[in-house]
């Protein structure tokens, strides 16, 4: 079996320790870095994120790793899992703090959750997801599982990419898949066993056993 290298992309807005805790819990080895050689060398990426969209893009731009990362994902077809903000920046653009361009890896845009009917924003807490289609991320996840969400903006994209949704005054995309590109709006690293199951499903799908 091939020795897979998992890379958590470190770009200044990640909850790196929380991701570390979850992956360690499952027994995976990984690297946290933003160096170009590590990006080239890695086989799979985790793009975490807690923060504002423009701040995340600014940091990625300053690190000068966007083109390299896109090439690895689009040309070399290496899998990536974006989490929360790391998922949102996969989109073309966002309206958080003004209009900002994203990585443009998945056609879509990020808009503020509509406040209607006394809905409290941010959408924070545990919500049940509805799995829309059989997806590698949910291989080991029970249907109607709940995950921890914490966001004020949400991802709009074509139905063909949506693998699950949740409901908060409106349908909210909770996960997407486009070929080798995966994204989740919730925080699997903070969703106890359901989150661990999601990480396990993802790594099993891409062929990593835990001693990798």
């Amino acid at each position: 079996m091939k020795n897979y290298k998992i890379l958590i992309i470190d770009y200044g807005v990640g909850n790196d320790q929380s991701i570390t805790n979850a992956l360690s819990c499952l027994g995976y080895k990984f690297l946290i870095s933003n160096r170009k050689e590590d990006i080239l060398d890695a086989d799979v990426y985790i793009l975490p994120g807690v923060g504002a969209f423009n701040e995340a893009m600014k940091n990625l731009n300053n690190l000068g790793i966007i083109d390299l990362l896109k090439e690895q994902i689009l040309v070399k077809k290496k899998p990536i899992l974006g989490i929360c903000l790391g998922f949102q920046i996969l989109a073309d653009s966002s309206e958080e703090n003004g209009f900002h361009k994203g990585l443009g890896l998945v056609e879509g845009r990020v808009v503020r959750i509509k406040e209607r009917g006394g809905l409290r924003i941010p959408h924070v807490g545990w919500n049940t997801i509805k799995i829309e289609r059989k997806d590698p991320l949910f291989l080991k996840v029970n249907k109607d599982a709940s995950f921890y969400f914490d966001h004020s903006y949400h991802f709009l994209c074509d139905k063909k990419y949506i693998s699950s949704e949740c409901f908060y005054g409106q349908n909210i995309v909770s996960s997407i898949q486009k070929d080798n590109i995966f994204g989740v709006q919730f925080h699997p690293e903070k969703s106890q066993n359901n989150g661990l199951k999601l990480f396990r499903s993802f790594f099993i799908y891409i062929g990593i056993n835990k001693d990798a």
Binding site: G12, V13, G14, N15, D16, Q17, S18, N21, A22, C25, L26, V50, G51, A52, E55, L85, E96, N97, E115, G118, L119, R120, I121, P122, H123, V124, G125, W126, N127, T128, K140, S146, Y148, F149, D150, H151, S152, F167, Y168, H187, E189, K190, S191, Q192, N193, N194, G195, L196, K197, R200
Partner: protein, 290 residues
Amino acid sequence: MLKKRIVATLIIKDRRVVQSIGFNKYLPVGRADISAEFLNKWGIDEIVLLDIDATAQDKKPDIDLITQVSKKSLAPLTVGGGIKSVGEIRKLIRYGADKVSINKEAIKNPNIIREASKIFGSQCIVVSIDVKKIKGGYEVYSDSGRVPTGLNPIEWAKEVERLGAGEILLNSIDKDGLKSGYDIKIIKEITGAVSIPVIALGGAGHPKHFLEVLEEGDAMAAAAGNFFHFTEHSPITVKAYLFKKNIDVRIDTYADYEGTSFIEGSGRIKKRPEDYLNKLRFEYISDEII
């Protein structure tokens, strides 16, 4: 649907979890990482860690302690105490916090709320408000309830929302440690005044108190400290109680305490019949393999 959250608070003094009574009496409970580990096993929805020494002694947040606690918690961790700058928030999030809670600094320098929410997003910034009953109303206090600020809690709650706070952690100084229930009046006033979620804290001593604060108080989350430290399996038993009362809560733990009833005064669970307990002795529960 979004579920109501049951939140545990860990009040930290001298690097230890303490029981807090009326914001002025503290009794030791134990190590924070062990508390977090148990709470996590019992299916807590979120943990809020408040280091009350950090602000009082003008110390920076204790990053080591936060990392230790985060290693034992796969539920969201909100950290407060001693936060004065965006740099400290960045560090906390990197080393184990998922959200931060700001109290005194927000009062001294409200601009930190705006600045921090621009960088980390509103969803990451919780403003903690400690309220005390005064003649004719309520007042916001700072410095662990020692210093009156002259701020009106409702006006202050609206102001922090306007500045970009994503949540309010509302703590009642009068109710702290009394186990007589939450201060529903002020909670209701604040939840009615803002459109961000409110986490209510202070006074829980029986599962029915959680029901009151979530229903009447309209809080999105009910938090407790002492109740979870001193009452066995209480996160699950509280949820079982709420579930029975038609509150949408998350029960993901193996034990669901269905059919449990409670002792009126203490909020502890009533003993089940002998034959039921006998049956449990022979039930084998294997660890879930993920």
